[in-house]
Symmetry: C2
C-alpha cells in the first residue's frame, strides 16, 4: 500500500473531565462534528466501558485515558488538519443550548422547583429527565412540595425508588417511574406517548412501549383511552411491591371516565401479583391483565371481572370488546342462570365445553373426558349435550336432519327457571335439514331464557346463510358464526364472581391528579416541555444544572455542608 | 278437578316387533301421526331404554312391553277414539317409501352393489348409511369390489372397523368412517357438507362438524378447499391407529391442488400422534394440526412445516394465511439466515423473543430471563437487542429520540452474511424522533438483508403514521403494525426444519379417488343420493333391505347357511 495514493483517515480525540452535559447537547455536538468538512464520522460519549466499545465498533477507537464520568469526543477525518480543526470547535459547540440558538425566553427560567411553582402554582406534576444520579433528589423535592412525579430518568437506585414511592403513597401522590417512558394524563402525553382518542379504557403499565403498543391498537380499533399510567419497570418487583400499580388501579377504579382497566407488565413477584389481582377484582369494572410471557392457566383466564390474556394484541382487542359490555360486568350478581348447550355437532359441543369451563363450573356433559351426566335426559347446573351421541340416535335420524328431539329439549330447558342461556348450533349444508332456523324460530321466540345460536355454513349452502341468520335473529336469538364468539357473549352474561377479600384501603390519590387541565414543571429534556406545550398543557421549564456543575467531588462536599447546616 | 270439564288427554301405543324400518320412514310416521285430527303428540322410536326415557320426558310414557329391537309407536290424543284411529293408520303409513309418494323411477333400482356397479361402472365410492349392525358387511362388499367407502353409519363394532381399514389400506382404498358425517371429494359434498369454494386447502378430520366449521370459516375468509376427508371419530384411537388419517395425509401431500393441509381431531393416542406428526412433517407443504382441548406446548407450536394451534378458529385463519406463503415453506432449505432484532422499545423486544422462540433457537438477548449475550456489541446466531437498555444509554438519549446507535448497528448486522432478517420497531408519538422512518430509510434501502419494521403509532401522531409507513415501504422494508404480524412473516422466511425420519411408504391411494367427476353408489339415506345428484355427481341408489327383512334370528340362520355353502 502506498501512503501517497491511499489516504488513511485519522482518528483523533479530546476529553472533558468530570462534568455534566445534557444528552441533547452531546447528540447535537456529535452531529455538528460529523458534518464538518473533511470529517467522516464522530463520536461523543460518556467514556463508560460500554460506550468505548461502541466507539470501537464504529472504528472510532480512542486510546485516550478517560473514565465513566469523563466526556470523550472522537473524530475520524480525512486529514490531521481536518481532525484538529473539528476538535478545536468542541468548546464552542458545547456552549450552544439544547433548545437551539439560545434566546430571550430563557432569561426568566426558574432555577428551582420552588421558583417554578410560583410561576405555575397549580402544577400538579413534575417531570424529571435529568441524569439518574440526580433524579431522586429532584423527585423528593417535588413530593415535599406536594407534587406528583413523572420520573423518566433511569439509573435511580432501588432503595431511593422504594423510599420515594412509600412517601408518595402515604401522601396520596403518584411517582411514575423511575425509567417511566410513557403516560397519558388528562389527555396529555408525558414522555413518549401516542396521540390517541380519549375513551373508556384506562391503562396501568410497568412497560412503556407496551403501553404505547396497546394505546395505539385501541385507537386503531376505534376506541380510546381515559388515562395511561406508567409505573416504571421495577414497580412490580418484590422490593417496590407494586405501590404505583396499586395506587393507579385504585385511582382508575374510582375514575368515572374509565370503564375498563388494562394492567400490563413483566410477570410480577408472586406476592405482588396476588395483591394486584385482589385490587383488580375489587374494581367493579372489567380488568384485563397481561404479564409478558407468563403462561395463563385455563382456570385463571377469567376470575370474575378480571381477565388474563397471553399476547399483547389480545389486550387491546379484549379491552375494547369489554367496553361494549362493561355495564353488565359491573352488576352485583352477574350470574343470570345456568347455561344449557344443545348441540347437533359433537365437535362444536366439545369446543363449547372447552370455552365455557374458563368461566363457569361445573359443566356436565353426555360425552367422555368431562363430568358426565348419569341421566342425559336431565340437565344439571351447566350442561352441554351432544344430541348426535349414540344414546339419542338409535333408530332416529341425526339431529342435523331431524330436530324433533332438540325442539322438545329446548322447551324442557326453557321451562327450568334456573336456566339463563340456551346455546344451540345450526349446521347448514348439503345433507342437513332444509330449514333448521324455520323450525327453531317459533320455539326460540317463545323462550324465556336467552337463546344463543352458532350458525355454521356459507352463503352458497342450500338453506341460505343470510335467511337462516335473519330468521333466528327475528325470533330473538343471539346469532354468532363461531363458538368462540358465542361464548364471549355468554361469558359477559353469566361469568361468576368469586368471593374475594377486600384489599386494604389506600390513601386516595385525588381524581384531579389525572384530570385536565394539565399543568406541570419540567426538569431535563426540553423536548418534553415542547411536547406538553404542543398538546395544550401549561408547563414551566426549569433551567436545571447539576449541583456543583456536575463535579462529583464538589457536589458531595456541598451536600455534606448542607446536611451540617 | 272435574273430569267432565277438563279433558285429560289419553296416551295409547302399539308395537311392531323385531323388524327394520328406515329412520326417515319413522320420522315421517311420527309427523304424520302428530298431524292427525285430535292428536296432540306422537312418538315413534326403537324401544331402547334411552328412547323410552325420551318418550317419558315428553309425557308419552308407554306401559307397553317392548325391547330394543321393537318399534314402539305412541300417540297422545284428545279422546280414546282419536288415539285408536291414529294407531289404525300406522301400517299404511309405514308402507310409504321414504322418498315420498313412490314412483316408477324406483322400479329399476338395483338391489345389490354388483348390480349397481353394472349401471355405474366408474363409481369409485360407495356411501353407506344403513344401520350399524349391517353396515360393515356392506362396506366389506364394497372393498371387495375395489371401491372406496364413505361409512356414515355409527354403531359399527371396533374390530370390524380395524379389519375394514386394514384391508382398505393394503389395497390403496379409503374407508371414511364409520360415523363419518362429512367429506368433500372432487368438489362434491358427501353426507353433511357445506358448499364452499374450491381452493388450496385440504382437510383431514376425525371430527365431522369440526370439518364443517373449518371449511365454512375458510370460505368466509375468501379461500377454499381442495378436499375434505372425514376419517370417523375412532380413527385416531390406538386400536385403529389412524390408518385413514395417515392415508389421507399421504394423499393430500401428493395432491397438486392441495397447497396447505389441515388435520383435525380429538387428542389422539400418543403413538398415533407421533406417527401422524412424522407423516405430516414429510408432506413438504404446510400442515396445520388442531387436537381439541389439547394444550400445545410452546416448543411444539411449530415444528418445521407443521403448526399446532389451540382453537378451532385459528385453524382456518392460519391455514388461509399459509396458502399465501405456501411456496416458501416448500423450499428444501427454508432457513434464510439469522434474525437480528434492534429495538427501541423494551417490551416490543421482549414480545419479539417470546414469539421468535416458537420457531428459532437459540435466541440471544441483552435482557434478563433469556440467553444473555456476554458482549451486547456482538450478535450471535439469532439475537434480539433492547437498545434502550442501560448499557446503551449512559449519557446518550433514548433510541426513540436518537437513532445514531441503531443506524450503526443496522449497518453492522447487514454486513454479517449470516443474517437474513433484521427486525426493527419504530415508535411514533409525542416525545419521539420527528422522522424516524426518514432517518432509517436510506440504510434500509441499501441493506442486503430483509428488513422488517413494526410501526407503533396512530394517524394523529405528529410524525404521521401513513407517511412513516410509506417511507419505510418505499425503502424496501416489510412493515407491520404488531409484533405478532411481523413475526408471522418472519416465521415463513426462517422457520427451521428439524431432521425427521421418513415415515414408511403406504400403498398409494390413487389421486383419481378424490378427483372429479364423482360417481357413487348409495346405500341408505336417500337424502344423500338427492344431495349428490343436486351437486352434479352421478349416483345410483341401491334399494337396500336388511337380510331377512331385519329379522335377527332368520338373518343369523341365513348367514350360517351362507358360510357353510
Amino acid at each position: 500500500m502506498n501512503d501517497e495514493e491511499e489516504t488513511e483517515p485519522v482518528v483523533r480525540w479530546t476529553v472533558r473531565a468530570g462534568s455534566y452535559h445534557d444528552s441533547v447537547v452531546l447528540m447535537q455536538l456529535q452531529r455538528a462534528l460529523a458534518a464538518l468538512p473533511g470529517v467522516h464520522d464522530a463520536g461523543v460519549v460518556m467514556a463508560t466501558a460500554a460506550n468505548r466499545d461502541l466507539l470501537a465498533a464504529s472504528d472510532l477507537d480512542a486510546g485516550a485515558e478517560a473514565g465513566p464520568d469523563d466526556l470523550l469526543i472522537v473524530v475520524k477525518a480525512e486529514t490531521e488538519d481536518a481532525a484538529r480543526e473539528a476538535l478545536a470547535r468542541v468548546d464552542a459547540l458545547l456552549r450552544v443550548r439544547p433548545g437551539g440558538e439560545g434566546g430571550d425566553a430563557q432569561e426568566d427560567r426558574p432555577r428551582s422547583l420552588a421558583t417554578a411553582l410560583k410561576q405555575l402554582p397549580d402544577a400538579r406534576w413534575v417531570l424529571i429527565s435529568v441524569p439518574g444520579r440526580y433524579a431522586a433528589d429532584v423527585a423528593e423535592d417535588a413530593l415535599d412540595h406536594g407534587r406528583n412525579v413523572f420520573l423518566y430518568s433511569d439509573n435511580v437506585p432501588l432503595d431511593r425508588e422504594v423510599a420515594l414511592k412509600t412517601k408518595a403513597r402515604d401522601r396520596g401522590l403518584l411517582v411514575l417511574g423511575p425509567d417511566c417512558g410513557t403516560a397519558v394524563l388528562g389527555g396529555v402525553g408525558f414522555g413518549f406517548a401516542n396521540r390517541v382518542r380519549r375513551g373508556p379504557i384506562g391503562l396501568v403499565g410497568a412497560s412503556g412501549t407496551g403501553l404505547q403498543a396497546v394505546m395505539s391498537h385501541i385507537h386503531h380499533l376505534g376506541s380510546g383511552i381515559s388515562q395511561a399510567i406508567g409505573t416504571g419497570g421495577r414497580d412490580l418487583s418484590a422490593e417496590v411491591g407494586g405501590i404505583t400499580a396499586e395506587q393507579s388501579l385504585d385511582l382508575l377504579a374510582r375514575d368515572p371516565e374509565t370503564r375498563v382497566i388494562v394492567l400490563l407488565g413483566k410477570p410480577p413477584d408472586q406476592e405482588v401479583k396476588d395483591q394486584l389481582m385482589a385490587r383488580a377484582c375489587s374494581a367493579e369494572k372489567p380488568v384485563v391483565a397481561y404479564f409478558l410471557g407468563a403462561e395463563v392457566p385455563l382456570h385463571e383466564e377469567r376470575i370474575g371481572n378480571l381477565w388474563q390474556v397471553s399476547t399483547l394484541d389480545e389486550v387491546a382487542e379484549l379491552a375494547v370488546r369489554l367496553t361494549e359490555k362493561a355495564g353488565m360486568v359491573q352488576q352485583e350478581t352477574p350470574t343470570s342462570g345456568y347455561v344449557r348447550g344443545l348441540f347437533s355437532g359433537g365437535t362444536l359441543a366439545y369446543e363449547a365445553v372447552l370455552g365455557l369451563r374458563r368461566f363457569v363450573v361445573p359443566i356436565w356433559t353426555n360425552f367422555s373426558t368431562f363430568r358426565k351426566l348419569d341421566d342425559p335426559l336431565r340437565s344439571r347446573e351447566h350442561t352441554v349435550l351432544d344430541l348426535g351421541a349414540d344414546e339419542f340416535t338409535v333408530g332416529r335420524l341425526h339431529p342435523m336432519i331431524d330436530q324433533d328431539l332438540r325442539l322438545r329439549r329446548l322447551r324442557q330447558e326453557d321451562a327450568d327457571p334456573e336456566v339463563g342461556v340456551i346455546l344451540l348450533d345450526v349446521v347448514l349444508g348439503d345433507g342437513a335439514h332444509a330449514d333448521p332456523a324455520g323450525e327453531l324460530a317459533p320455539v326460540i321466540a317463545g323462550a324465556r331464557a336467552e337463546v344463543v345460536v352458532v350458525v355454521i355454513g356459507t352463503e352458497d349452502d342450500p338453506q341460505g346463510l343470510a335467511v337462516q341468520i335473519e330468521t333466528l335473529e327475528r325470533a330473538g336469538a343471539h346469532v354468532f358464526r363461531t363458538v368462540r364468539d358465542a361464548l364471549q357473549w355468554i361469558e359477559l352474561q353469566v361469568g361468576e364472581l368469586p368471593e374475594l377479600e377486600k384489599p386494604p384501603e389506600l390513601p386516595a390519590v385525588p381524581l384531579a391528579t389525572v384530570q385536565a387541565p394539565v399543568a406541570a414543571v419540567n426538569f431535563g429534556l426540553e423536548s418534553f416541555q415542547a411536547s406538553l406545550a404542543a398538546q395544550g398543557a401549561r408547563v414551566v421549564q426549569v433551567d436545571w444544572r447539576p449541583p456543583a456543575g456536575g463535579n462529583e467531588k464538589l457536589a458531595s462536599l456541598l451536600a455534606r455542608m448542607k446536611r451540617r447546616g
